[in-house]
């Protein structure tokens, strides 16, 4: 299919794709622009060139403090992802390389636990957390997010592991590798792209989880989702401040996503592509 691609065609698709992409990106772009406007400027109607004031960021920072919730978000999302991986890798190994008739069912059951409406179990959870002294602790939130994302992690890893030929693991076994060595020296390094992609996706999901992270935190463990909850509708003009807070809340994950998009995209198939 390597017939000549005419420049015309290429230009046409370039223009079309950029137009669509910018349209999709526009809400985010406009939020960033608005965050650099003054409040009165922000509601003056459509304008793409702000006055580049940073007062909103200063205000947001002095009002709420950005660093602590940011660190909480980082610790919780990365921590929960790592723990989930730690639990999921062996499980996915077992499912992929020693499947039984029930493997598929177990996998599907795991996914179905994600369908439980969170709010329906809020009070029980709150009580459990209170009694285990996990309320408003990073550990508590990490545990919750680990459990929430575990099914997806298992599933993703399972699909990657299944693509690894069993013969290689058998070779390792013949070579005298113990199970531990087999997983650490052979399986995991081979699945690195898949594991990286799983990790990224789950950090994103954990970062953006907004139900439990607000409900089970107060001051110490409150992540950025709670940070943004204090800006959703304050009194007076707030468009620019809200934009600044929004920008701050999404910027870290957005930047991380941009830089790692190749890894993320490469593995984002859920086994749908052979």
């Amino acid at each position: 299919m390597a017939r000549a691609v005419t420049t015309q065609r290429k230009v046409f698709f370039t223009v079309a794709s950029w137009a669509v992409a910018l349209l999709i990106f526009f809400p985010i772009l406009y939020t960033v622009i608005t965050s650099l406007k003054s409040e009165t400027e922000a509601i003056q109607g459509f304008g793409l060139i702000p006055s580049f004031t940073f007062e909103n960021y200063v205000l947001v920072q002095t009002q709420n403090g950005y660093f602590k919730p940011f660190m909480n978000s980082v610790v919780i999302s990365v921590g929960s992802t790592l723990i989930a991986l730690l639990i999921a890798v062996p499980a996915a190994w077992a499912m992929a390389f020693s499947p039984t008739k029930r493997t598929k069912d177990i996998l599907m059951w795991m996914l179905s636990t994600k369908m439980m409406p969170a709010v329906g179990v809020l009070v029980p959870m709150y009580l459990i957390f209170r009694d285990t002294a996990l309320l408003d602790t990073r550990l508590g939130l990490t545990v919750v997010l680990t459990m929430i994302n575990l099914p997806i992690v298992v599933w993703m890893l399972y699909t990657y592991f299944r693509e690894i030929p069993g013969e290689i693991l058998e070779a390792a076994r013949m070579d005298g590798a113990s199970l531990w060595n087999e997983i650490v020296h052979v399986l995991t390094p081979m699945a690195v792209p898949g594991i990286a992609s799983t990790m990224l996706l789950n950090i994103i999901l954990a970062w953006n989880e907004a139900f439990w992270s607000i409900r089970l935190s107060a001051a110490n463990a409150a992540p950025l989702t709670a940070f943004i909850a204090s800006f959703s509708s304050p009194q007076g003009l707030f468009w620019a401040k809200l934009s600044a807070a929004s920008t701050l809340a999404i910027a870290p994950i957005l930047v991380m996503g941009w830089f790692s998009q190749r890894q993320l995209v490469r593995g984002l198939t859920f086994g749908a592509v052979k």
Partner: protein
């Protein structure tokens, strides 16, 4: 140091009986080839020996020691897989060193052994490459390197050449044979390519549906196939098998004659027919002759025969090379 015995080994997967019951003794230093059609249980048998599958019943001994329940790592065997099963994230050096590292051998010793193995296999200049940067033949050599470095009691090969192209297959075939001459370690080699079986084996084990049909040296099987299955399987192109009247004339249900044992003439002979496809290989020509009465017979002739599609010919089998089989398909002595 490499004597393997299977005693009443039986294997079934769930309900299906893949290996009904096999007894087999492999001597130290022998090159044994398992051949048989696809799905006949060759790989399964090899994996039972390796310990990658459990026997359902029966025993496997290595050098007299019963290893039936032991995990693969303890059996002291090395295996080369069809897909090479190299570790893609490790360099050639690390691939070869892996089994030694797992055995906890010290780094200096590992280095010495890896370099020696690499030298044997002409891999010295590739040691830093990843498997992905190697050609098929080189990968296969790395896989073998990984096997020999441990100095195992026996090598197990599962169709190691089937992913290579024809000419490379020829070369690698030679290399493995040379290696066997050099190391004199027991080798068990699975293939469904009978050319490989014929050229490499000291002893061929012909399997069919999990049963051993015949065990013997290549020429034994070629000359005296015990039954129809072996007769049809060994030899390339296949033996011509004829049943019906022509067979009855020889007091058999089926007779067999190899293509190289049929002579061809334009003037007269036992069977008449017309030439179908003629395969010119340069040195030889294989004629597929559609005969009147005994079906299509393949004939091997010299390279320079002047017969073409549609020509009328007569065929005569060499009487002393005829194989006769009874109703059960067993050879009649």
């Amino acid at each position: 140091m490499g004597m393997i015995e299977l005693k009443g080994v039986h294997k079934s997967f769930g309900g299906t009986n893949v290996i009904p019951k096999v007894d087999l003794a492999i001597q130290n230093g022998e090159f044994v080839v398992f051949v048989g059609p696809s799905g006949c249980g060759k790989s399964t048998l090899l994996r039972l020996i390796a310990g990658l599958e459990d026997t359902t019943s029966g025993h496997i001994t290595i050098d007299g020691r019963d290893v039936t329940g032991e995990p693969p790592a303890k059996r002291g065997l090395a295996m080369v897989f069809q897909s090479y099963a190299l570790y893609p994230h490790m360099s050639v050096y690390k691939n070869i060193a892996f089994p030694l590292k797992m055995a906890g051998i010290d780094p200096a010793e590992i280095d010495r052994k890896v370099k020696a193995a690499a030298a044997t296999l002409n891999l010295t200049s590739y040691l830093e490459r990843r498997p992905g940067q190697l050609s098929g033949g080189q990968r296969q050599r790395v896989a073998i390197g990984r096997a020999i470095v441990r100095q195992p009691k026996a090598f197990l090969f599962d169709e190691p050449l089937s992913n290579l192209d024809a000419s490379l297959r020829g070369t690698m075939r030679l290399e493995i044979s040379e290696l066997h001459h050099q190391l004199k370690t027991t080798m068990i080699y699975v293939t469904h390519d009978q050319v490989e079986a014929m050229t490499m084996a000291d002893k061929i084990v012909v399997l069919n549906a999990g049963n051993i049909e015949q065990v013997g040296s290549p020429m034994e099987l070629y000359r005296n196939p015990r039954n129809l299955f072996v007769a049809g399987f060994i030899g390339s192109p296949r033996m011509n098998l004829i049943s019906g009247k022509a067979a009855e004339e020889h007091g058999a249900t089926t007779i067999g004659i190899r293509p190289e044992h049929v002579s061809i003439s334009k003037t007269g002979g036992t069977w008449s027919g017309t030439v179908g496809v003629a395969e010119h290989l340069g040195s030889d020509t294989f004629l597929h002759v559609h005969t009147d009465g005994v079906g299509t017979i393949t004939v091997r002739t010299g390279g320079e025969i002047g017969l073409d599609h549609g020509a009328k010919v007569w065929l005569t089998p060499q009487p002393d090379k005829l194989h006769r089989f009874d109703k059960e398909g067993l050879a009649i002595a």
